[in-house]
Symmetry: C2
Subunit: 345 residues, 2 copies
């Protein structure tokens, strides 16, 4: 490990990606995780740290340890697969974290997408672990289009409402690009991540009025009042409609909890949300047939028309960070690093 | 026809839904449409008028006549079906309007969704006709979840950009509800419908600055400058990401035109956009299995939590209009009615 520390000012610790993986894996094993879960989660934590999504990097080990302490997560659950239709694979995570369930199901989902053209994978009874972009990127790495979504806890009010019903309900999408990084987005249908409101509350800073409502259902600039009230969706009634769609598709459709139910299930423990997830994979070769290459070229012309006018494709910041991290390693704040090391005690 | 007219002030003409259908069908036949196309389009125009979506009611007959005059639309094209994968049906509209293609493919799509769990229908080489809600509602009427999307013309700039790349790219979704109207939304990924900007321009009224950019790529409140510039997406970079997804899924994936290409194909004729469409159908019975009823109940609890706090479900205004129209008939402005009658000359 090539860390640089002085005695006065805490400088960040520099870790290689292999070191991030090993550290994460060791912490997870130390907290009772099975090897399979520890590997799956450590891989995604390494990806988060690599892409400088700091709340999804090794910081997440602290969240994970708290979730394990809540006693609801099964750290050794073995996912089971069930073929429920030619186009649908159901994975039961048995109240373990979601990532091993995703990894276990992915080869079957990919095979179904190739044979059927379009296929779905439902993941049930999982504790949410990370952003969804690692999953849709893994689908795109197989040459398939990926879509993923899940509910969370009911922090978000519907448009025109005053109380939380929806989760922050992320929607992620990836389009595979020949010989390059995919076109990827992964966004919350809430106006902002809940963590951003928490950060403002900690720092006593005001928030923009379209982020949240106070407990009287009125827009507020007070971050603490927002945490006692409800968040807003992005984009008004359109974002609210999307959030509802995600509750329906990744909750009611797949026989798993809505965000309201997941919140109740948590019972104030503050663990990661327990819910289901819907993943869709589409084979562009089956759709495109002889025109597959032409479709790829058409997509590239679309991307070029966006970037040629100075606009960015989604995820470009992550991809730039990825390049830096693969070359130079990642910088971890000393205090965070120390907190993570304590998890090894 | 129970119209009420005085000689001084033009009162609206009141028509029954049957009268709307017959009038629409006659106009379409008079303009050279085949019976099959005229029936399919007249049905959807009647639905639009019934739900008081005025731009999709009999007003649309004027737009349709203009599109037919452009000479690009084949008013008698017979859609052909091709089974390209167990989960994918491809419908070629052969440069006719989209609705007959949708109607022709729907039974096969529904059968595929029931046998595969999830299935897709691509519609290629069609001229756009209407909103997408009649299509996803038709899917929901079969007890299936429906999703539909299509590009249009490249009027909309990507977030952070200055020039049009995306269409107004609608996304529609319907969830079937036992014994009732479905949960339905259908929204443009642009901040506003293009027609609303045109209306403001005609009336010389300013527009909100988040609707559009002028030709220098700056936000503008001048509706005429907006029409010469580019529209904005709803919801900033998130709406922009969704708009891109629709170009990819309902353009590049399915071997059809992106909005930029559709605009070029139109060549200034001002016809309805020519493009493809992606329709997805999901069978909740296949996903839910023995838990299907529980999933339906879960969805109803979600809807109740929304409406109990005074928020509305999407499409409620349409459904209320539907009730009124089925009971009392529809009111059509006299001038519009006269313009439509002239199409019969």
């Amino acid at each position: 490990m090539s860390s640089t520390v002085t005695n006065d000012a805490p400088e960040p610790v520099v870790l290689t990606l292999d070191e991030v993986f090993t550290l994460s894996r060791n912490v997870l094993l130390r907290h009772g995780m099975s090897e399979a879960h520890a590997d799956a989660i450590a891989r995604v934590i390494t990806q988060g740290q690599r892409d400088e999504c700091h709340s999804h990097g090794i910081y997440r080990l602290l969240v994970c340890a708290r979730s394990l302490k809540s006693g609801k997560v099964d750290a050794r659950a073995e996912p089971t697969l069930r073929d429920i239709a030619p186009g649908v694979l159901a994975v039961d995570a048995h109240y373990g974290f979601s990532l091993l369930a995703f990894e276990t199901g992915l080869p079957v989902l990919a095979q179904k997408a190739r044979s059927q053209g379009v296929a779905a994978m439902t993941i049930n009874h999982c504790f949410h672990f990370s952003a969804l972009w690692p999953e849709v990127e893994a689908i795109a790495a197989q040459g398939l289009v990926g879509i993923a979504m899940n509910p969370s806890h009911s922090w978000v009010a519907p448009a025109g409402g005053t109380r939380g019903v929806f989760g922050t309900n992320p929607l992620a999408f990836a389009w595979p690009r020949e010989g390059g990084l995919p076109f990827v987005f992964d966004f919350a249908t809430s106006a902002i991540a809940r963590g951003d409101i928490e950060l403002h509350a900690r720092e006593g800073k005001p928030i923009p009025p379209h982020w949240a409502l106070n407990s009287d259902g009125q827009p507020t600039t007070d971050a603490r009042a927002a945490l006692d009230g409800a968040m807003q969706t992005f984009g008004g009634h359109k974002g609210s409609a999307l959030a509802a769609m995600i509750e329906l598709l990744a909750g009611a459709l797949i026989g798993d909890l809505t965000s309201m139910e997941s919140q109740a299930f948590d019972g104030g423990a503050g663990a990661s949300p327990c819910h289901g997830e819907l993943v869709i994979a589409i084979d562009p070769r089956r759709f495109g047939g002889d025109g597959y290459e032409a479709g790829q070229a058409r997509a590239e012309r679309l991307f070029a028309a966006i970037t040629a006018q100075g606009a960015r494709l989604p995820s470009q910041r992550r991809f730039e960070a990825r390049g830096r991290s693969e070359r130079d390693g990642v910088k971890v704040p000393r205090a965070l690093y120390d907190d993570v090391l304590k998890l090894l005690d």
